[in-house]
């Protein structure tokens, strides 16, 4: 059954042939994303889907991109970014224990995976084509544009690309992924910094409380004392506070 899904950007996503395997990889087949150069589903279905691996046949059909990501929210954001730059057949693999099996089944042209994902090492197996018809993949580095790969690595995304795929077809995809992953990284850094600041403030408050009670001083004097100890010892106020709190915990 054909199902229409409207995503947050007001575009209709039409899964053309649903080969869903609930247990492992959600396979969203063939989205038509962009409204500008939209291809009608009828016409698209007549396009030859050639299972070959030379770029000539890649020209005839949508590129297949597999996103390896177990967090559904993140996967959806990456999907959205890619659909904004073109039409692709997107698949998401979220079960790392079946990663290689799922990728072999999907047979994608491009695999996008978080640089921090431990399962990246399992993907390295795919760089060795062990059967004659298998398509070896490689971490994308085009000689003319090593900078693009460098930017991707810095953003924390790695792209594995099938042999023979031209760089100009890959560039918009990688650009979109890099932008998205840079946003992820920023969010992650901000979250960590906020958490740390909150944590530190809590500890300093507790340390101040301990000093106020033990020495009968007010809050301002307690903080001044902490700051002074930190300066004398060449440490951070937070570190001194933490030491005080944990020591007080032992003595109480």
């Amino acid at each position: 059954m054909e199902q229409a899904r409207v995503n947050g950007w007001g575009r209709t996503l039409r899964p053309r042939h649903l080969q869903e395997d609930q247990s492992s990889s959600r396979i969203y087949a063939q989205f038509s994303g962009n409204t500008v150069n939209n291809v009608s589903p009828n016409r698209r279905s007549t396009l030859p889907i050639v299972p070959g691996f030379v770029d000539g046949s890649l020209m005839q059909r949508l590129l297949k991109i597999t996103i390896v990501e177990s967090d559904p929210a993140r996967a959806a954001l990456i999907e959205e970014s890619l659909l904004r730059v073109g039409q692709y057949e997107l698949n998401i693999v979220d079960d790392m224990t079946r990663l290689n099996t799922a990728i072999k089944e999907i047979n994608p042209d491009i695999v996008l995976i978080d640089l921090d994902n431990p399962s990246r090492d399992a993907l390295e197996e795919l760089t060795l084509a062990t059967a004659p018809l298998e398509r070896p993949v490689a971490l994308f580095v085009d000689q003319g544009d090593a900078n693009l790969t460098k930017l991707a690595i810095e953003a924390g995304v790695s792209a594995y690309v099938v042999d023979g795929l031209r760089a100009d077809r890959l560039k918009p995809i990688l650009d979109a992924a890099v932008t998205r992953f840079n946003m992820f990284r920023q969010m992650r850094t901000e979250l960590a910094a906020t958490k740390r600041a909150l944590e530190e403030r809590k500890v300093i408050d507790r340390a101040k409380g301990i000093l106020m009670k033990a020495k009968g001083i007010d809050e301002e004097a307690a903080y001044a004392l902490l700051r002074r100890a930190a300066m004398d010892q060449g440490r951070k106020v937070g570190d001194v506070a933490e030491a005080l709190v944990s020591t007080a915990g032992l003595l109480s």
Partner: protein, 366 residues
Amino acid sequence: MTATIPVGFVPLIDAGPLIVAVEMGFDRAEGIALDLRRANSWSALRDMVSFGQVTAAQMLSPMPVATALGLGGAGAALAAVAVLSTNGEVVCVSAAMAKRLREAGHDFGFDDAYTAGRALIAAADGPLRIAVPFPFSMHAELLYHWLTALGLPAPSGIDIRTVPPPLMAAALAAGEIDACCVGEPWGSMAVERGVGTLLLPGSAIWPGMPEKVLGVRADLADSNPEPLRALIRALWHAGQWLNDPRSRVTACEMLSGRDYLDVPPEVIDRALSGHLTISARGDSRVVPQFVDFGHFAPQQAHAAWIGGRLAARLGLDRGTSQDAACATYRTDLHENALQSIPGYVPEPEVFERSFDGQIFTPALPK
């Protein structure tokens, strides 16, 4: 002016020299400051070195060789400038396999690669499914050597697949694999979780196998700047310190830190002391040379052996592969860095034989 050197590592006991260099200040004593960055995968480390996010990184010893042969990765050529650790791997079997081995009368003696290997092959139900952390690793090479030497046909009788170490315990528990070969503390962690039993240490298959190296970009090795030489010296000091039994208690505490391995110090102690707990029932075994941090020089013979093995398995030309492999192991540079240490005497390298009497191929004539 202290040069800060970003260095990548994976949380394993053989990241020890890097962690100790920082914690004990061996880096600052050499006028450099290491900035350690933890990574989750070997491929990430390789790419971080290739594209300059880190200057150097802990690597599986076949990684620079594999890159030179065009296997995996596509970035810059890599060079091994030091051996961080020797052995330290374990073969760990699933609960189902352990039960079959026990029923067949295997005693889990933990010291005899012949009996353990033959028992494992006899207990196999179809091709042996064994997980390794990376396709180009000493774990894979040890397994292929060990099991084919005992008559198991490869690749038909053995299915070696890549599973990230954090997922190995789950794969053992789910029955997806019969065994895994992995660096400590992952084997002991599988025992702790009650899903694995240790069958053999890597040192019982081939003692003296270089397990991890320090990898840098080949162009950096060629220019051989002073900070790189200082890094090599700092790690040599760290390795010497780690090899001293008196350092063990302190070392276990350092490695167990939240920013490093983040596992209890007593689990790390098993590997560093060689007193391993092999089963959830608490059986223990002593391995005199479980892991070593003192065989510091990259050896051409090791590189040639690794190159030859990869070439044979993947259908590449043996001679050119071995030449390319040897070029990645920079023994020259290593000696050059260590000579300035007062009283430094190069350790005579003794090549130990594998369990079946093999010896590393000698360095090829240039």
